[in-house]
Symmetry: C2
């Protein structure tokens, strides 16, 4: 499946979260990532997140879809090199 | 179409951007919005963004898709009341 992931976590965990997400997905903006993940990798990523995130403070949202139905438009500067998967 | 929009803009324009996006979409996390938009509203939103965003500093990404192909999973706290459109 193709994923868009966004996180909003306490400042002290931002670096760790960034590093973790970069292992699995393409960093396209601030706290936004995208890319194709196997089901196994998706499960692995979620279990790694759960190892250090704080339930009451942090939030991660995964949108999943079949990549062929997804379109993307960037208004303004492309701050990160976006993937070419779509 | 169903949209997910994320922005990364200079601090001084965050409030204005937030207010604008709230007119059109559901605020689900920090700088992340989602919702259904007609083509006319999508064009209107983009033209409103372009009135005050700065090309060299700001970035807005729109992902668009047919809502029926999109799934969403939240890990951790649901910081904003998410829409029930999906």
């Amino acid at each position: 499946m193709y994923y868009i992931a966004v996180y909003d976590v306490a400042q002290k965990r931002v670096g760790k979260m960034l590093k973790l997400f970069r292992k699995y997905l393409h960093h396209i903006q601030n706290s936004v990532f995208e890319g194709e993940l196997s089901n196994a990798d998706y499960m692995r990523l979620k279990s790694e997140i759960k190892r250090f995130y704080k339930d009451e403070e942090d939030s991660v949202i995964f949108f999943s879809m079949n990549g062929k139905y997804l379109e993307k438009e960037i208004v303004g500067v492309e701050k990160k090199s976006s993937s070419n998967f779509i």
